[in-house]
């Protein structure tokens, strides 16, 4: 292969980077070894390349990063404030704040604090204690009354059910006890026994007394359809 000085100059970087094919490489070497012009050229460029590769990175001023950040994000104090505010946006923090606020709201409301007409005096520990005590007693009293009312209603309903289940057979005859009836009677007594008759009469009296004591129940009882 014929190799010229122009080719040497044009392909010098390929030669130095090892990109020449083997035939080109041989021709290049053959020419450079024999050419007085190309030998120093290749030597000097190789030297430059070696020097460039040994050049080390120059360290910038430590202030450069800070000045870049200041020119883009603003002063350092402002950046810190923004970072702090950004941390507040995390879901965990928001959940915590909401749960604490809800707890406080419930506690303050339970203590009798009026949100419509708020007074600073209502937030005094003594006021809060008194209000909470009053509220607790009131809630307890309401609860007790509610349970008592429920008990009365169920009592009346069960008595009425018992009365309706008494069969209308001729007086003095004893009906054959069916397995179903036996299943309903927990005490195992005969419904038409004199003792039971007395008890039925007693229930009627009790109902009259209850209706007189709890007029509200008489309305609900009237509305209810008795099976």
């Amino acid at each position: 292969m014929n190799w010229t000085c122009e080719q040497t100059e044009a392909r010098l970087s390929d030669y130095l980077d090892g990109l020449l094919e083997s035939a080109e490489q041989i021709a290049f070497d053959h020419h450079v070894n024999a050419c007085e012009r190309c030998t120093p050229l290749v030597a000097s460029v190789s030297h430059v390349l070696g020097t460039l590769h040994t050049l080390e990175q120059v360290e910038p001023s430590p202030l450069l990063i800070n000045s870049v950040l200041t020119s883009t994000l603003g002063p350092q104090s402002w950046r810190k404030a923004k970072r702090w505010l950004r941390n507040l946006q995390s879901p965990r923090f928001i959940y915590s704040v909401v749960s604490v606020a809800a707890t406080l709201f419930v506690l303050v409301s339970a203590s009798g604090f009026s949100w419509k007409k708020p007074k600073l005096a209502d937030l005094a520990p003594a006021s809060i204690y008194r209000s909470a005590d009053r509220q607790a007693h009131r809630v307890y009293a309401r609860g007790t009354k509610f349970v008592s009312d429920l008990r009365v209603v169920y009592e009346i309903q069960s008595r009425l059910r018992q009365d309706n289940e008494i069969p209308t057979t001729p007086e003095g005859t004893i009906p054959k006890s069916s397995p179903d009836q036996k299943r309903d009677r927990t005490d195992g007594t005969n419904p038409l026994s004199p003792r039971q008759q007395n008890r039925a009469n007693g229930i009627e009296r009790h109902l009259e007394i209850l209706a007189a004591e709890f007029p509200i129940l008489s309305g609900s009882m009237g509305e209810r359809s008795i099976p």
């Binding site: 390929d14 000097s44 450069l64």
Partner: protein, 189 residues
Amino acid sequence: MEQDAQLVQQCLQGDGSAWEQLVRRHTRRIFNICYRFTGNRTEAEDLSQDVFLRIYRTLASYRSAHGGFATWMTSVTRNLLIDHYRRTKRDRITDSLDDAMPVVENKESAGRRPDEQALLGELSSQVQSALTRLSPELREAVILRDLQQLEYGEIQRVLEVPEGTVKSRINRGRIELARILQQMGVRPA
């Protein structure tokens, strides 16, 4: 590269700490490109700051499909350096190249013997002077290839010229640099 792309996404969502990380990761490289191109430390720092400001403003235009973030940054740096070169051409004619302050290369040279370090420092400043005498086209090609160790494909994307032109510029730049150094009295050992 993936980390850069992730940080860019976080920046675009308003995360300042992601931008801070990007700045810390790339400041040294950008500063070195600017310094090797201008040969002046103060000028290089001002230009680095301008580069980051431009990148910050145009971050939304970066597309990872068009190449790595580092290549994109290098491209922005190169455009800004060329703009700066054209803007300051007249001022530079009157300036002497020898006015540039000598720069201590870096902390890694501390392990060398003092005479080696002095020799290397001298050679380094001579190469830097020779670099600034190259035409901007050849200079940027040599800096990207031989100082920043970029591949031909990356240089092609940065300079936006065909690969043949990139190779030709690098070759001519090296030969021209060798000639300038010879003129300055620096000869291969």
